[in-house]
Symmetry: C2
């Protein structure tokens, strides 16, 4: 492999304009992994920063010819190791392909390069009175390419769907270096297999996405915010179930537990823990009177299960600060030590049961587990935190992580709601999908990636059940 990689890198240095191929060891190290601190990673042979699709085609063609792995990445904010380097691979970073190529207000679509930062696309659309909904908490940094590769979710997805629901078409480099257009630019289309949809969430294992056409919506009505504090995770979970039972479709319904509130307070001194133990932040965006009624109904749900304090927030700045705190929860926890992020999703009515099981697992494995959650769609992010270099604690946390996966499957849930499988959830995917469906994955991978170069070993082990 090492020899082949050397040859490919030398070829690319000759073939591509100066500066696009990087071999500097320190630079390579900073592109070797994403934010899944617990996932293994290798040493890339080179980094390529393409400026156009032809550069990517060059990389893929040469890597395919010699069987050298290609790992694409956006901003590296992934949480499951999907963008982690393999030894001797070529890493493609899309930071220089970050143009919004087109915003079409009449067709309500945008065409972007993969390196466009999510928030930048959002801002560009806002100038046309348009809205790109998918809003992962990483939106200020993460790129649309990475969002598409992982089928990223976010806060408003509970009402507006995930990245998959907005991708109309793609340009990608596939196979041994073919550039193809998949999907469409029209509102509807059923010509052939949904290959654009298949690429979304395939975590770079089926080809390299070089351009993305997304659907847009019109700017929506202002959101109303409902705030509730609860004395336990389970009671907050019951409020989530009550909202579902009431038939309310919130535009966000986020849960932040005491550990996260405390971590944010210690960092930013926001006084969040003064209100109570577990915070639910709900939002509604139906226009006019319908929105008023939705917000009141959500408040009634919070009260009905015994919120220790709840109210509609009438101060837009205060509401924004609370959601900012939600987005700060993850970085605040990271200050305390390595974080192992879960991302299970369970049926909404089972959110209280799953939260109870998580608490039990924390106790049984003597592990510190904090919880943030896109609670409204049952997508929970228990976060296992250990002290650096405490190996026994790390092993206990790892065991708790695997137990949570098992319990989510037991409740009819999935091992990953929005972060992707990457490396951390490969065992979970095997258990969730079963051997026949895993074999379907392998057959498709083999069919579309005959050279076996696209991010091999991510999502599933290529050759069979996990042995590595």
């Amino acid at each position: 492999m090492a020899v082949m990689s050397e040859e490919v890198v030398a070829e690319l240095e000759r073939a591509l304009p100066a500066g696009r191929v990087v071999r500097d060891v320190d630079v390579l190290a900073s592109y070797a992994h994403d934010e899944a601190e617990w996932a293994p990673y290798g040493r890339p042979a080179a980094l390529v920063r393409p400026r156009e699709t032809a550069d990517v085609r060059e990389v893929v063609a040469r890597c395919a010819a010699r069987g050298v792995p290609v790992v694409a990445r956006g901003a590296g904010t992934g949480l499951s190791g999907g963008a982690n380097a393999l030894d001797g691979c070529v890493v493609i970073s899309f930071e220089a392909m970050n143009a919004v190529l087109k915003i079409d207000p009449n067709e309500r679509l945008a065409v972007v390069q993969p390196g466009v930062v999510n928030d930048d696309l959002r801002s560009a659309c806002a100038e046309y009175g348009l809205w790109y909904p998918p809003d992962p908490a990483s939106a200020p940094w993460s790129t649309i390419g990475g969002n598409v590769a992982t089928n990223a979710g976010g806060l408003c997805c509970v009402k507006y769907g995930v990245t998959r629901d907005y991708v109309l078409g793609l340009e990608a480099v596939v196979g041994r270096g073919d550039v193809v257009r998949l999907g469409r630019r029209t509102a509807k289309g059923v010509a052939g297999y949904d290959l654009a949809g298949l690429m979304v969430g395939s975590e770079g294992t089926l080809g390299i996405i070089t351009e993305i056409t997304v659907r847009l919506r019109g700017t929506r009505a202002a959101e109303r915010t409902v705030v509730g504090y609860f004395d336990s995770l389970v009671t907050a979970g019951e409020a989530v179930a009550a909202v579902a039972t009431a038939g309310i479709v919130p535009s966000a319904l986020e849960l932040i537990d005491r550990h996260c509130l405390r971590a944010v307070d210690e960092w930013r001194n926001m006084g969040l823990t003064d209100g109570g133990d577990v915070l639910l932040l709900g939002r509604c965006d139906a226009p006019g009177q319908a929105g008023e009624e939705e917000a009141d109904a959500m408040l009634a749900c919070f009260e009905s299960v015994g919120a220790t304090w709840s109210a509609r927030s009438t101060d837009a700045e205060e509401a924004e600060a609370l959601f900012a705190a939600r987005r700060l929860a993850y970085p605040a926890l990271e200050r305390l030590g390595p974080v192992l992020s879960e991302d299970i999703c369970v049926p909404k009515m089972l959110v209280p049961e799953m939260l109870a099981r998580i608490e039990r697992i924390a106790g049984e494995h003597d592990t510190h587990i904090a919880n943030i959650a896109h609670a409204g769609d049952g997508n929970l992010h228990p976060l296992m935190i250990t002290s650096p270099d405490d190996e026994p604690a790390r092993l206990r946390a790892q065991a708790a992580f695997e137990r949570i996966i098992d319990e989510a499957i037991d409740l009819g849930g999935t091992v990953t709601g929005e972060h992707g499988v990457g490396l951390l959830k490969r065992r979970g995917l095997e258990d969730e999908a079963g051997p026949v469906v895993l074999d379907m994955h392998r057959a498709i991978k083999q069919a579309l990636d005959p050279a076996g170069i696209f991010n091999p070993g991510k999502v599933f082990a290529v050759d069979g059940p996990l042995d590595s």
Copy 2:
């Protein structure tokens, strides 16, 4: 093939309970094709009416062992030959697997067998205050299984999306007879490739769907109706573009031209042609004042391009009658002779241009072309009508059909917005997708259907560019 088919049918007669395997020639003839009158079809060796998934598994396993094709069908309302029989195939009809297995109002999902009629699911959901949006004009007859296999669209899809947007998970019989579960039942999930999404719209070429889990919405606010008559197709198309430019998202925006209005009038005497030449029916369903404003804005769009007559309909019964007329257009035309249905979709702003080209093509090919359209999403259904047994007219119509496909591709559109490729659009798909993307289709087909038995030759020729 004939010998193999005989053996499989004999085996199935022994293996399945009495009555599930049918060999009666007259019955078989009535299951040999869908409503695409111009597409070729063969003679099936047998019909199987399964009552449970195990029956389907039995069919697939035995057909796979002997290389006998399997063609699944719902109600046979397809318009592109996707369900047409192949010589010696086994046809599976899901008419006896028509149970709504579950409606879960809290999780907002339904679990159904493939043979459930679309309108029956809709009614069952309504009892819970829930709504299954995809509403093909065939909804009174077509089945959810067929809707999923073709990724069916409909009238409200312009605002609420197509079948694909509502399928959460599937059970299917794949490969050589494996029963798998694909997708999920949770609100979100990104565990592995989107194989459920890949099955949707694959027209029975990748496996046989035996159970479907769909997402539901809450019942929506009452719709407001806006009616406009225009003196030409192109002017009506300009109204559609004006609605898009105004940023209005209608809950329906249907076009019916003079040929269709006349055909419905001649059949049902509804007086539709009294109002003018081309009818646009718009609907808005935003709640409260927002809906009022939307409807007024749509009316203003109609007026701005020069509607000969337009008004908001304040009489719900009258509005319902107009939409009923829309749904009657296709069967009304069928009374006049064999209908060849187009199903192109173009960017919304190009609807007037595409309608102009269709008129030009009608003239150049001396062909009678009527038009209905889900105009709001650019999905046009030019319908070519000929007298029975007029072979030269038939050839001219066929030429016009192919020309329309070429023009749609030329305008950045797709050859099929919602009917599927089946047999009629195989050449169109080749031109739209190109050889590399077609090869990706073949590679996936080969990977997931190693026995080559699932509806072979539909969507694309299995072995290479069309030669048959």
